[in-house]
């Protein structure tokens, strides 16, 4: 192989490793954040004293390093790794061992097409992303829909009553909400492709750049709400945690799992949550755009201050994007301790009788509005689609 190709591959592997490390760290610290948020909402303290031995002996900064339980994820991870990992005698061993991996791998694969910021070369903005492919959002929907097999197969392979129920519920819930989720983002892509001239397609970077005038969540609140609800259902978070619902199903699909395999399910759920929040931020909250500029000339610095600051601006855009994403991870936890769990028939009713029709109505209404805007303002600029 030519050396350039090898160097290229090495760079890509390096970037991929950085992405995996960052996302896994976020997933691990989301677990800590979940426990802290839960304890604050319930008026408790939460984890507050886990520390490496000898750390508090460091003068001045030592006592601050052990506060807030920032070493808790490390301790949890080590505990999961070193616990005994028995396989119950009544399970289907192959699927039992495969299921946690199936749950985690799709959640991590989706980050390949996730743009996290932008850099500017010669005045043209490029996304910071592992693979800038045309079908970004479809890739994320497709791969993340495979993640449900981890839960379904895990519940089935456990060969026991309650995990089985958890698996069945998970598959039914997945089918119901995937439809609403897929349809709720259609108005976003109609907007991103319809009124702006350019390449179009389904790439997420394109969606972010089309939101400089106005974040889509502001003028598409209903699709945003449908997407967020479906996201809660797809990540199995309360109030939609039917597969787990520990008050009726013991532990749901992971009742028979322990130690590291349970840890993989757990991290997979949080990784899914982090990626889902990032996708929501990109689709409806303007990604790394600072503030909407309302399309006014001279105000572009408000939506895109990053391109004037060189590499420092790129770093800032990534940090700003992460901050927005973190807010939504917090929102997930907030809702968990605010809403009670839905009953199973309520989950099905909400999915099929409310969200799907509402998403269909949104497609129709926004198609009409976008078509009218096209005709009224931008016919000359749009590509040959209008003819």
């Amino acid at each position: 192989m030519p050396p350039e190709l090898i160097a290229d591959i090495l760079w890509k592997v390096l970037f991929a490793v950085i992405f995996v490390v960052v996302i896994m760290t976020f997933a691990a610290y989301s677990v800590l954040a979940e426990r802290k948020v839960a304890s604050w909402i319930q008026g408790r303290v939460g984890p507050n004293r886990t520390a490496l031995p000898g750390l508090s002996a460091i003068p001045v900064i030592g006592p601050h390093l052990v506060k807030m339980g920032i070493w808790q994820p490390l301790a949890d991870g080590v505990k999961f790794l070193f616990k005994e990992d028995p396989i119950p005698g009544h399970v289907n061993k192959l699927y039992y061992c495969l299921a946690p991996a199936i749950a985690l791998i799709p959640a991590l694969t989706t980050m390949v097409v996730l743009p996290v910021g932008q850099y500017t070369v010669d005045g043209i903005a490029h996304p910071i992303v592992l693979a800038n492919i045309d079908i970004g959002i479809l890739f994320i929907l497709a791969v993340s829909s495979l993640g449900v097999y981890g839960i379904v197969i895990g519940g089935w392979a456990a060969n026991s009553k309650y995990p089985y129920f958890g698996g069945i519920r998970s598959s039914a819930q997945m089918i119901s909400y995937e439809l609403a989720m897929g349809m709720s983002i259609l108005p976003v892509f109609m907007w991103a492709n319809g009124t702006e001239p350019g390449l179009g397609g389904l790439s997420l970077f394109n969606v972010v750049t089309s939101q400089q005038a106005m974040w889509l969540g502001v003028w598409m609140p209903v699709p945003a709400f449908i997407f967020l609800t479906a996201l809660f259902a797809e990540t199995n978070r309360l109030p939609f945690d039917m597969p787990e619902s520990e008050t009726e199903l013991v532990g749901g699909f992971h009742t028979e799992y322990g130690s590291f395999k349970f840890g993989l399910f757990f991290v997979g759920e949080y990784a899914h949550m982090v990626i889902g929040s990032a996708v929501f931020t990109i689709l409806f909250l303007g990604g790394w755009n600072f503030l909407p500029d309302f399309g006014i000339d001279g105000l572009e610095w408000l939506s895109d201050p990053w391109s004037r600051m060189g590499w420092f601006g790129s770093v800032l855009s990534v940090l700003y994007f992460i901050a927005k994403t973190m807010f939504f991870v917090f929102f997930f936890m907030w809702v968990r301790w605010t809403l009670p769990r839905f009953r199973y028939d309520q989950v099905m009713n909400l999915g099929w009788k409310y969200l799907v029709p509402a998403a269909l109505a949104c497609i129709f209404i926004y198609a009409l509005i976008i078509g009218l805007i096209d005709i009224a303002f931008a016919v000359e600029e749009t590509p040959a689609i209008v003819q």
């Binding site: 079908i135 929907l141 497709a142």
Partner: protein
Amino acid sequence: MPDFLFYLFSALTVLSAFLVTVSRNAVNGAMYMIVSFVGMAALFVLLEAYFLAALQVLVYAGAVMVLFLFIIMLLDAGKGRTVRPDRLTTAAACIGGLLLISGLIYITFDSGAAPSTPLPVITELPENATATNIPFTTSSRSFGYGLFTKYMLPFQVTGFLLLIAMIGVIVLSKRIDSSGDEPAKPRIAKS
């Protein structure tokens, strides 16, 4: 390298498709079917048809097979019972299979077979693109453009056929008892 990948994924697809038909456990069969679909999606990726690949995974591996698994688990059809097909079914299946194989062989070795030239990759539709001279590319935009202009009627007719099939299934699967009344609705506890 692409050759090697092609043979790898083709073998994966065909082998797991074969295993679907011979596996006795319905859940095993469903899992092999998922592997087969994903292998086919990988073949689409090798053809640079990313859009088709994503749809293959999204619709078949992601949605249809979840439904299959749901039904298998709901009916607890894990250990399928063996049903011996009668002679007529066997004969019809043999004839049908032979016809299919001969048709495939004819298409493969016929000189007028499907073209194997790579499709051009263009980034933007040309200015003079109309319904009749759409450049066929692998970008998702050209799929949509073709689907809603030149192939609008076949597209709609296919959708209508699916609707007919769906209504047919609902009618057939709705058991109507001898008196002609609709079956009693399953009792749902008032909540």
